[in-house]
């Protein structure tokens, strides 16, 4: 089965050599999503809660384009530019993943592509063959 590129229409084509998402064998892998709006402008400058909400919206956009929902997510990796954002990110994250069976997750502190970016999130989902 060939891999399928997931490029939502309302998401800019990445300037760098990657796809917003890849679907293969029932799995969907998203690229790390930052808090860009549909025009590629960073939202929520200085506001980690707002950025987290936008990152997760972008993940949902990719999942939807690939035929999945947030309930299909197996695992996320959260990159925070400063681990002190942990609680604020979690509060917003828990609003998005609001079920009892939340995905697995790792959270690491890592400087992101631009200093205004406070959080980046990637996800792996499974929807079966």
């Amino acid at each position: 089965m060939p891999k399928e590129v997931i490029q939502p229409k309302n998401m800019p084509v990445p300037a760098a050599p990657y796809s917003p998402g890849i679907k293969k064998g029932g799995f969907i892998f998203t690229s790390g999503q930052v808090a860009n709006d549909s025009n590629g402008n960073l939202m929520g400058i200085g506001d980690v809660a707002a950025q987290t909400e936008q990152c997760l919206k972008n993940i949902e956009t990719v999942l939807t384009e690939g035929g999945a929902t947030k309930d299909d997510v197996l695992k996320c990796v959260v990159f925070l530019s400063d681990i002190r954002y942990f609680q604020d990110m979690n509060a917003e994250y828990a609003k998005f993943f609001d079920g009892d069976d939340k995905p697995g997750r790792s959270t690491v502190q890592a400087p992101l592509a631009r200093p205004e970016m406070l959080v980046e999130i990637e996800a792996v989902a499974y929807i079966g063959d």
Partner: protein
């Protein structure tokens, strides 16, 4: 179905890990970097050459699992400095063509001073 551990004769490991392991068609490769068989950094300070060597090392491990770069679905690129992203992307774009993998790129504290890039990949082979 049991997991498969990729044993790669010429793959450089600098710790207690395998070059990769797979199950259910998914293969998780260990992070690769521009290291020679003694663990020395190849092309210190040269992001293009290091990216090339890193992706060649990934290709070698994928080949041992019966795959190619086309089977890669997700990568994580670790850079020692975001200023290297342009040089990395130029080589990366040449190696990963058509149906480019999903990717996250983050900064790392490099394990060796002159090491500029490390890449880990997930591939789906034979599905």
């Amino acid at each position: 179905m049991p997991r498969t551990v990729i044993s790669s004769g010429d793959s450089v490991a600098i710790g207690p890990y395998s070059p990769g392991a797979g199950g259910g068609g998914l293969f998780f490769l260990s992070g690769k970097a521009a290291l020679d068989s003694s663990g020395n950094v190849i092309a210190p300070g040269d992001i293009a050459a290091q990216t090339e060597a890193t992706i060649q090392a990934i290709e070698a491990v994928l080949a041992d699992a019966g795959g190619t770069l086309d089977d890669v679905v997700k990568t994580t690129v670790f850079l020692s400095d975001m200023r290297h992203s342009k040089g990395m992307n130029e080589v990366y774009a040449r190696k990963f063509t058509g149906g480019r993998p999903a990717r996250s790129t983050i900064l790392m504290v490099p394990p060796a001073v002159d090491l500029l890039v490390e890449i880990d990949v997930i591939a789906m082979i034979g599905e």
